[in-house]
Chain length 263, copies 3
């Protein structure tokens, strides 16, 4: 009865997610499959990466997390399986698991290359169905991680593209908006962990040439006009407007640089 | 194997619903979680309230229904748990459960205040994950309802905002459009129960200065030009256009007043 | 623990899919329900038909597939249950199962007419909840297919509307775009099976007065400007633009005729 979560950029308009579930159940009919998120913007590896880094630990130990945002599908990019914090992760080796690997020291990383675990024939366009689904199904069924392929070091994992990394320069933290949620909140990749050395009342956030001082703790605690910064649902800094849409108010979206410093 | 349904205004674009499921499964890995509806318009308590009132009884007895439309999250609004008709309901005490409580006499109502059932730490912005999910998980696992907190009377429950209530004045029933569905059908909060004293052929509905007489029984039975009224999928009055979009045709939406009288 | 898949044009904005699941679980609390696809365009029978024809076999043997795109709900159209390839299918008899029946020789076809299996009262507008859901629940629970109603021949099944059929005239294959997916890929109803007598390098596809020669095997293998044709995720011909949106580029959508010939 192991849980498998799915995070993709497939959306829910088409049958793609449904077919992935069929391919999981075909090898493991007892798997409990949970949709983590299928609304990742097409091919936006960073959005999936920081979402997953913030979400996995809410699931029970032993959960298998599958993340498929895979612009390189059908090329020779690798697929990796990572054991970390008692959970398992499977994703293309394109940076998607890099923030998680940097933050949490994984117990084990392996290349997924054992073709006997794949659905046959393997298509060139839909590895979610033909590789990720059956491999996750078998792992949730208890096969040993070493079955999937050769071990590798964390150093060998493809890093996140630099503009999506969180960096610290001269005490200033540089990050970016990585998601715009349903409510128009601008979710950054800067976790509370990243600013724990700063006094919350003296934090200054700069985004779109606007400087916002101090952290709020609730949406309702702020006026309904000016943007505020608060620790959002992901435990990351979030730029929001109380009862309003920050993305529309500030006219910015995913990719916008954000900096944090002590005021 | 108890069933837990989720109704929220979180949408499915983000990971919020997925994370709530993780937090349920973390305390109750055997829960069967069903998405009832996540397309409630942001912060539209009335839409969730009438949807839930119309939907819960299609599920098996013993189901736990979680409804989170919660503009007051992080403030001192209460959360309530209600036993009614052999089902359990958990929601913010903001009017969401009021129509259901008025219509069906609940067996028991309790404030949810036992912090030992909450996920720690409890955030200020995401009680769906930190309070509703674990409490539902424990209740589905069979803990006694009295565990969650003190008993209260139905009188103490926060009422639905008046403009969203169904009222009868001088024999005229006053309600409102509470949902616009995917097909553009205008779904009201006026249940068939509310008009059972009227002859269906002599019902007159007034909406947007237009008077529509008589109830249709199927979409296909009416012409494709003029709006009709029929008992919709929720057993509530619905204004629809056969093969068309009533919301666009009439240029109205949620909140539009609707009156029903005998013609 | 039998699996039931759901394919509808209900969308996920409303509670309709959630309520169908409730009605399944009410008769079979152990059913494992999988959303195959709810993004079928309203009343687009062909889109559902070719999606289902391409998807069912990824699920384990014994799966029950429910498909509800049903403009004739509440009229006297029939509902049919089909056993085919070790799977079961339930849908309105409006052409939806016709492509599947033509391609795979079904073992048995029956009209669904045993009202003792229906939820009572049966509404005129929501057979998904009142008929399809409980019948699927009972079938997944193991009742004999003959319980649902009288046997019928494949000849008696309502055919797909002609403009949505795949036809061959003078060696030219005539099909159509049946879906536009999230990525803007134009998915046709022409399966690889339908062109297996042609040399992939010498296939010529004509769509919207544009002639495209040869099949690509991956998205990434083509330039990012011109449309290409490749066997898509459904094993059907798909017109796509690498990292782009073919529907927007070509300004066409569902229903657009597509022809295939040897170049």
């Amino acid at each position: 009865m192991t849980i498998i979560t799915l995070a993709t950029d497939f959306g829910l308009r088409d049958e793609y997610v449904g077919v992935v579930k069929g391919a999981v159940l075909a090898v493991n009919p007892r798997a409990v499959i949970v949709d983590l998120c299928h609304g990742i913007r097409p091919q936006n590896i960073a959005e999936a990466a920081y979402m997953l880094k913030a979400s996995w630990h809410y699931f029970p130990s032993g959960t298998v997390h599958v993340a498929v945002v895979d612009p390189g599908v059908g090329t020779d990019r690798d697929i990796i399986a990572v054991q970390c914090g008692g959970h398992l992760f499977i994703a293309p080796d394109n940076g998607l698991l890099w923030p998680l690997i940097q933050r949490y020291a994984p117990e084990e990383i392996r290349r997924v290359e054992n073709r006997s675990l794949f659905r046959q024939p393997v298509s060139r366009t839909f590895h979610g169905r033909d590789i990720f689904a059956p491999v996750a199904g078998y792992l949730a069924n208890g096969i040993a991680l070493e079955t999937v392929g050769e071990r590798m070091n964390a150093d060998g994992v493809t890093p996140m593209e630099e503009r999506w990394q969180v960096r610290v320069t001269n005490g200033v933290i540089h990050g970016a908006v990585v998601s715009v949620d349903r409510f128009g909140n601008l979710v950054t990749n800067i976790a509370l962990d990243d600013i724990e050395h700063l006094d919350p009342e003296r934090v200054a956030v700069t985004v779109a040439r606007r400087r916002i001082e101090g952290l709020e703790m609730t949406y309702a605690g702020h006026d309904t006009e000016t943007p505020m910064v608060l620790p959002g649902s992901r435990n990351c800094l979030e730029i929001a407007v109380n009862c309003g849409n920050a993305a529309k108010r500030l006219r910015i979206g995913s990719g916008e640089p954000v900096t944090v410093s002590a005021s």
